[in-house]
């Protein structure tokens, strides 16, 4: 119990520390920024849930952004005729169809998931662009904006988090996914059908893609169908969230919370720098350094310990 409390304190210290630093550095960042930070973290966090499932199976996926855009485009087109039902149905059908197609390709072709993700990314981007038409984007009716705003977006994220927690920790498939990710050969020997598990893992990402698509299109009121692999940049933030979460997992094993903390930290850095009036250049540098410091700190501290021990040993010899 004590250990858990300490772990939670350590966990909370990271985003809290970032918050305090930026609050002290600039007036434009403070308690009033919290709703914005929460709101902006939603989409990368939900996408991160889907990526976490893939990465837990040791699969890499760069196509989640393209799949979310594809699903949101279908949802947006259907929303114009069928309102909210059309939006939800379109996003769901689009995201699940894209996920199942990717899973089928993975099962059929037996090639690495990363390769498939790059290939399907190229294809889904074009499909979304063709559906969006000459304007290049799809708008939704104004009455649907509320889904992407407070409190609906919080409800969606909490729903996604609960679903993720149940899948990851409480269902057999979650355990199998973790097992396959750790040692697939061993799993095969234990009678787990690793191919089936990976197929299901990829399909499950479709659920979180659905949430991500709904949030993305409702958040801004429209979805832009970009090509030239631009949608790949949509997964970098979620990947950072997941990797941060996996790093922090040694403190507390609760992935939804950890991914959320990762998302909050990265969003605070971006907002903090905007509040300080710094341009893109410094934002990029500081984000990169932040990741290196946080993720590399444990290795760095053990390296420092080794160096200290060597120095002490040398002193011991000379003494």
């Amino acid at each position: 119990m004590k250990k858990t409390i300490l772990a939670v304190i350590e966990l909370v210290a990271l985003p809290f520390g970032i918050f305090i630093i930026f609050s002290l550095l600039t007036d434009g960042f403070g308690a009033h920024s919290i709703p914005i930070i929460l709101s902006q973290s939603m989409i990368p966090v939900v996408t991160g849930f889907g990526l976490a499932i893939m990465m837990n199976a040791e699969l890499m996926d760069f196509s989640m952004g393209a799949r979310a855009v594809f699903a949101a485009t279908i949802g947006g087109v259907m929303a114009q005729n069928y309102g909210m039902l059309g939006l939800i149905a379109g996003c769901f059908i689009g995201s699940m169809a894209a996920a199942v197609a990717m899973a089928v390709i993975y099962r059929l072709f037996h090639i690495p998931a990363m390769v498939i993700s790059i290939g399907v990314l190229l294809i889904y981007e074009v499909l979304a662009a063709k559906m969006a038409g000459s304007s290049g984007y799809v708008k939704i009716p104004a009455e649907l904006y509320k889904i992407g705003s407070y409190p609906m977006n919080i409800i969606i994220v909490v729903l996604a988090a609960v679903l993720f927690y149940i899948l990851f920790y409480k269902m057999r498939i979650g355990s199998h996914i973790t097992a396959v990710g750790n040692d697939e050969k061993m799993c095969k020997n234990l009678g787990i059908n690793a191919d089936r598990v990976k197929f299901i893992a990829i399909t499950l990402t479709g659920i979180f893609c659905f949430f991500s698509a709904i949030l993305t299109i409702c958040y801004s009121g429209s979805i832009t169908a970009s090509t030239d692999m631009q949608t790949m940049s949509l997964v970098f933030k979620p990947i950072m969230c997941v990797i941060l979460a996996r790093h922090l997992r040694k403190l507390l094993d609760c992935m939804p919370l950890l991914i959320f903390i990762g998302g909050i930290c990265i969003t605070m850095i971006f907002n903090g720098f905007i509040a300080m009036g710094f341009g893109d250049a410094l934002q990029d540098i500081i984000l990169g350094l932040f990741l290196i410091v946080v993720l590399g700190s444990s290795a760095a501290s053990s390296e420092l310990k080794k160096m200290k021990m060597k120095r002490n040993a040398k002193k011991g010899i000379t003494a």
């Binding site: 304007s135 832009t224 509040a275």
Partner: protein, 409 residues
Amino acid sequence: MRRKLMAGLLVLTMMVGGLTGCGASGKTSAGSDAATGSTAVSSAAVDQSVQGSSAAKETTAKKTANKKPYKIAVGLPDSGSTMFSLMSNNVKTFVESTGGKVVFQGGVGASADATIQFVEDQIAAGANGIIISPPADSVLPTVSSMCEEAGVYWGITFRTIKDQAIKSQIESSKYYVGNCFEDEANTGYQVMTNLNKLVVKKIAIISQAKGNTTTDLREEGINKACEQYGMKVVTEARSLTQASDATSATESFLSAYPDLDCVFIVGTTGTGMHEAVAKAIKDAGRQDKVKMATIDFPDSMVELFKSGMLDTCSGLPSWGYDPFMITTVLANKCMGTPISETPVTLTCSMFDISDTATAEAWTKKFGEATTLYYDKDTMLKTFCKSNNKDLNADFMEKSIKEFTENAIK
């Protein structure tokens, strides 16, 4: 069995690609036929020249039948937003009506490497003329030497050559037909002047990455206005690709700067950005305090003006008019009937729209991707040197001026 199936799939993909390519190259009047029923804009000067032309009685279809086929490559995208589609539709209509073929390619102006590779590839693909929007003057000597070596004509759109040494080198080449540009720096300055009248002091900008010539020039004008009027650009967001990025950025601006006066969209390749910014301002309840300005007229301009979200914008009569005009110059050169023996420099002017009525008038004319600047016959009669002996650089400038004046009538 699986491998045979996949090998078959691969061959099928290549065949489909090949047929698509053949279909694309086989198109002659399909693009122009689609535009027949659409609104065309014609100007008084153009009408006068048509009446005065001695060749007016002869049908243009017969004239173009005798023209040698030619191919033009344009380094701009032909889809992805209404303005791209509008530009490509007009350029295609003109070129195909004069017996030519046109190909478009996006992402060319993004980097110097991409520009040079595009020119090289298109020369190898048999292009007779190339239009580029170069990211920097320093690529032009290389482009010029490649085109000279290959005997390919070329021109510049959306840019002027600032370096005088490079300019004199380029203009001495007989393969360089000229350029069409607009004063981006002045446009940036002009929008800021309008904002200053609205008592705007603190501005957040949404722009492209530094190094993009268009937005760099616009920001030059913005900075000049800031110094002159005591305004300040307090924060920025760059290279946004999704509408949700624009919403996030605007929320962050509003949160960090409670006294922010304006969000200025200087330039963006993403579509749907303006509505996203407007939504963020409205959701924050700051629509009465925070103004919105932009360069290049967005698709939803009328709605934004009606809702009071957009305060001022500046843009070309139509974004695609600049490349359209330089393409007519290039096409004439490729057809063997140049409009001028020396390179031409055409200037397009941007103008302001600050109210709903003007926005509606503009959108009525240029809001659809299928709109033609001039109907097909007028294009052929007016912008083909063989049909219009008066066609020269001065005539082109006059046409641009007339077109701009009539854009919001």
